[in-house]
Symmetry: C2
Subunit: 264 residues, 2 copies
């Protein structure tokens, strides 16, 4: 409560919808590009196109941050870059540790997108003693034993897990115990964390599976036959006695392309 400022629109700080937060980095990227081209101002329509979203949505998103635009003109690029950066907390430097320096971990360490936006790789950690001391992306890999010390010394609050699935939870526990409160998880596992700790996961195989679903659907629509009818192939699969039969008959029908969805 610094100034006696009348209550700022409650929309401030707390009220920003999660969906909006997720888009802010997108806007920031588009704005940065404009900034580099020395574009002074931009309209919601133009910026929305650059970010790949609807202009109304963009305006509403910005409205949660405040009234930073000028009617009849648009938004001041530099000003908006600063406001969004501040809102996202990118005006400060975030030390990050990457645990698990395999192919993915190394790729992340080399990823320019990190350093370019207020994130600094404070340390690379791996459980393999043979990796210790080995330089990756210009940084010497350290052994897991030093994990706690590293986090404390650097005041790290964000950790990236790029270990095999089997080690993820254990690493996660140690990170949290050491003080990390935000985790970006690349391991294909569900992490359990105490309240107050944020976890975001990036799952490569899941993304592909989702694409496969749509791909199959597209193929099914074209040919008039989809994968739905595959229930027949159950013969070879171990299925529950009664259930297999029941489901099969249930879905039998003209087989058309009656999806596995049954309206009541």
């Amino acid at each position: 409560m610094a100034t006696g400022r009348t209550h700022r629109p409650a929309t401030r700080s707390r009220g920003i919808p999660e969906a909006t937060v997720a888009r802010l980095p997108l806007y920031l990227r588009a704005l940065t590009a404009l900034s580099e081209r020395s574009v002074p101002t931009v309209s919601s329509e133009e910026l929305a196109a650059a970010a790949g979203v609807n202009s109304a949505k963009l305006r509403k998103d910005f409205s949660y941050l405040g009234s930073y635009g000028t009617r009849g003109v648009g938004y001041d690029v530099e000003y908006l870059v600063y406001q969004i950066s501040r809102e996202l907390g990118l005006t400060q430097d975030w030390p990050v540790v990457i645990v698990g320096i395999g192919n993915l971990g190394a790729a992340l360490a080399n990823y320019g997108g990190f350093a370019s936006r207020g994130f600094r790789v404070a340390a690379l950690i791996d459980a393999d003693p043979a990796m210790a001391g080995k330089p990756v992306a210009g940084i010497a890999v350290q052994h897991t034993d030093e994990l706690e010390q590293i986090i404390q010394d650097n005041g790290v609050s964000i950790g990236v897990i790029a270990t095999p699935a089997g080690a993820a939870q254990q690493v996660c526990d140690r990170l949290v115990a050491a003080g990390v409160t935000s985790i970006l998880n690349f391991a294909p596992t569900v992490l359990t964390v105490p309240d107050g700790v944020d976890v975001r996961k990036v799952d490569l195989s899941i993304e592909l599976q989702i694409l496969a679903f749509h791909e199959q659907r597209k193929a099914g629509e074209e040919t008039g036959q989809g994968g739905s009818e595959a229930a027949e192939g159950l013969e070879g699969t171990p299925a529950p006695p009664a259930r297999a039969a029941a489901a099969a008959t249930d879905r039998k029908g003209p087989d058309g392309d009656v999806p596995a969805v049954m309206p009541a």
Copy 2:
């Protein structure tokens, strides 16, 4: 999604909600683990816990697929594994090409999660002539010139883009022109694609930025003052125009979005 008109007027193409589709891979993973432990059946409560979701949500998700459970008992693990696999289109083999074999591309090529679920890396493609022929993950890298031929010969419909941002759109266009209809994009760029083409993006830096936002919020609550307070520093200038100068100084270097891998 990504960009362009991914707006699906919901042709009621399929009754399965997008949110449900996104969770199916999660259930599948948990079920596979149970299957390996030879667990015969599982209740919605147990499975939900393993997948990290609410049990009611899980039951509703499954209800879109059909009635595959047995009241009083639960779900037959093997049967459900098959049903979900089929629904996701994983009972068939999907040839995939990875374009851009830098650190990230190599990591993806080595990622076991792909091959283990019906995805087969048909080819690795890179624009650097020096990479051609070089084996990565046991597969010889091929030059971009052969992209179209590779896609046709292998009947590839899913492409993964791991190139620098600058090359992404161009690669995307070529992939689409050659017949690819689903794209997984790792480049920090908004891709524009024609209708009928699905694009999913994985943006490492965006995920970190979202974490930073929450981290800042947490820090702000603790100290009783936080990021919002930072606004005070600028409180003197309510008008955008003057703001530009101040904001510009804090942004050092043009950096922009440096791609994950390889040079342009």
